[in-house]
Symmetry: C2
């Protein structure tokens, strides 16, 4: 018997589809309660969940120790073990995060537009929760609490399916939060964790149209790609962040240097990190920009004209232009003007975040209009591509698709709307 | 050789996937031009397309005559032939429709929100076109022009795949519109028609992720269900309109009678038509409501308590509560109060449009909040569920899903947004 199957909640005779249907029905019933809660009640629920997390510090850290021990036995890398590990400070951070989400404005009930028709019908478009949201994620146990909090704040129930490495931790966090909800009279089923690591359950979640309203995958490329390929339920996903920074001829050289350095090297492992630098052939400061990056320890892979700037630049292959390194590696090309830069971006961008550095406002506005990415920037580091930096308070992910929500997705992206029509007996002629 | 394969545009060696990739690439190239057009230029393009349709009246009506002759030979019903048939008045209606869409406000470029962050970054969320939209539809040739016009107005290119019955008509309409676009310098590939009726091409469209940005199916249940089941591209679909009207105890009896009659009988074949009437056991005017419907020629199928109201009411089966009749047939149930009505609606509604008739404002507000449909109404006929009636100018469909757009979808539903960030050299700390 593996670690996974010791978790209660499944029976031998229940298929993955039956399991998902059962817990989804519980989640949907809980969501109908959430949908009617006031702003204050939802905030109270999150504060109660935070308090319950603090109270359960002992059991949560014990559960986490089991995961860490299992991870060490499995030979997980130090980096993975670090992402998995909880300690009192990290747990306090998670609990405090719930309180911060509690303090965010409630999007539910917001009137998006209101009109009155000539026949006297009054129309309002009003924000409502989406319903039951499935989150499929990998090893970090804080996602359990963060994602559940954003769903709850926006009136959605959540079905969490975390990675097997963090199962005990996730289970302990979910149990504490559910207990917190119950302490203020809110159904525990608002926050559920899939009780088995059977991979077939992921398949059952992805095809549970009508039971699960939206799936958010959070994790690596292969997880997201599998979810996108197999899902029958709408998916809010971000794939790669192949982010470009184009340094225009009219860029301020010092700004170009400092912004490019920050966009690449501040944190290389985040999806908003620059992966390709496009240097305009007319920009006089290119050598300083690449020197600064090389001196900071970044590996550069360039086309022929870029390599002429510094002998330390390695040759780039075609594959480099389509690679998200998430590391101190950068591809560099020299381009002939704005149109060539836009063409390169159109061919290779993952439509996450692309930026231009320029002092020419007309060029900046053309770039903002024509670069077709979820986030387009002028004279700023692409590392600002983040819900917190955008003032959204938190984010459940950065969506690179085109429908529903794009870019950093926070509470509003977890809502939909309904049309309310108020009449006084109107019949349609 | 069938009629279908006489249409030019495919070659023997091109697979359906290759065909879709080729025309999608042409469409995407045209869309990049559309995305940059001003409001005035897009309006000009639509007026030019309208003029070209009028000019091509001869060829279009000749093409339509071929479709009608083929339909008669195939034994199509009179109703289907009528939907297929064009005449000078109908064609003028189509051309005038394009001019009306030209007069609608352009959603592209609209700033949804604008904020400035403490670090000086200026953020705007700006509406942009979705990209290349695939429309898969059935026999009515007017959809060719209507759908293309809405896509063009919102800066999207369109790939049309109509029904085989209307192929010659669709081809003539698309050719005229494309000619109109070209006459004002806009690429004809902005409006393309799939050049073959090979059903495998529909499959290739549905899986063309990255080439087609959104699919809108317009047609019967089986078409929409197939699209939803097979699509890898996001779908904006409406399935059934199983619309309820609940007559509450405190409803004005005459209002209840007239609104219910209109909701069912004004036009029985539209998706906003009432399909189930819920009569509160405490409502005193139930007999008048059912008498009025029966006298107007509607067949009523009721539960035991409803049948006690009039001997002409037939017994309803379980299936009736889940049936969209689109005909002069109505299921009728007597319910015990608001909660029972909401439970019935939660169990059987298709989340299109549900209405309540009541003079009690608290009850009305509870219904508006708790009935979970795209459109919820108080004291109005569900037949108002229509983009035109909502003041949206036109609609591409009524979406019953939960993400992106809900209810009547018009120009705004054919757009997405990007985040524009304007800085002055900010690096993220």
């Amino acid at each position: 018997m593996t670690v996974e199957t010791t978790i209660a909640g499944t029976t031998d005779t229940e298929s993955p589809e039956m399991l998902v249907a059962r817990i989804a029905r519980d989640g949907r019933a809980a969501q109908r309660v959430l949908a009617r809660l006031s702003d204050a009640r939802k905030a109270e629920a999150l504060r109660a969940a935070a308090a319950a997390l603090r109270e359960a510090e002992g059991p949560i850290l014990e559960a986490n120790a089991l995961d860490i021990a299992a991870g060490e036995a499995k030979g997980l890398t130090g980096a993975l073990l670090d992402r998995l590990r909880l300690d009192p400070a990290r747990l306090e951070g998670i609990a405090h995060g719930l309180e911060q989400v509690a303090a965010l404005p409630d999007p539910v009930g917001q009137v998006i537009e209101r009109t009155e028709r000539p026949n006297g019908l009054q129309l309002s478009r009003v924000r409502i929760p989406i319903g039951l949201i499935g989150i499929i994620y990998e090893s970090r146990p804080n996602v359990t609490a963060d994602a559940a909090a954003l769903c709850l704040r926006s009136g959605n129930a959540v079905l969490l399916r975390g990675g097997s490495e963090a199962l005990h931790s996730n289970r302990a966090i979910q149990a504490a939060m559910a207990k917190g909800l119950e302490s203020v009279g809110i159904p525990a089923a608002a926050i559920q964790l899939v009780p088995t690591q059977d991979r077939a359950v992921v398949g059952a979640m992805l095809t549970a149209a009508g039971l699960i309203d939206m799936i958010v995958p959070r994790g690596g490329k292969s997880l997201v790609a599998r979810v996108q390929a197999d899902a029958r339920v709408p998916v809010l996903a971000h794939l790669d962040g192949i982010c470009h920074t184009y340094v225009h001829a009219a860029a301020d050289p010092e700004m170009a240097r400092s912004v490019a350095l920050n966009a690449k090297m501040r944190r290389t492992g985040i999806c908003g990190a620059m992966e390709t630098l496009l240097l305009d052939t007319q920009f006089p400061g290119s050598r300083d920009v690449v020197t600064s990056l090389l001196d900071a320890g970044c590996e550069l892979r360039g086309d022929a004209r870029a390599r002429a700037l510094d002998p330390r630049i390695l040759p780039a292959t075609e594959e480099d232009w389509d690679t998200e390194y998430l590391d101190a590696v950068l591809s560099v090309a020299v381009v002939d003007g704005l149109d060539a830069a836009l063409d390169h971006i159109a061919a290779h961008s993952s439509h996450h975040t692309d930026a231009i550095i320029t002092a020419d406002e007309d060029v900046a506005e053309r770039f903002l209009a024509e670069a077709d990415s979820a986030i387009v920037m002028v004279n700023a580091s692409s590392q600002f591509a983040d819900g917190g930096e955008f003032g959204l308070g938190a984010e459940i992910g950065i969506a690179t698709g085109r429908l529903h929500a794009r870019g950093p997705v926070a509470l509003e992206g977890l809502t939909t709307y309904k049309w309310q029509v108020r009449g006084n007996g109107q019949a349609r002629p």
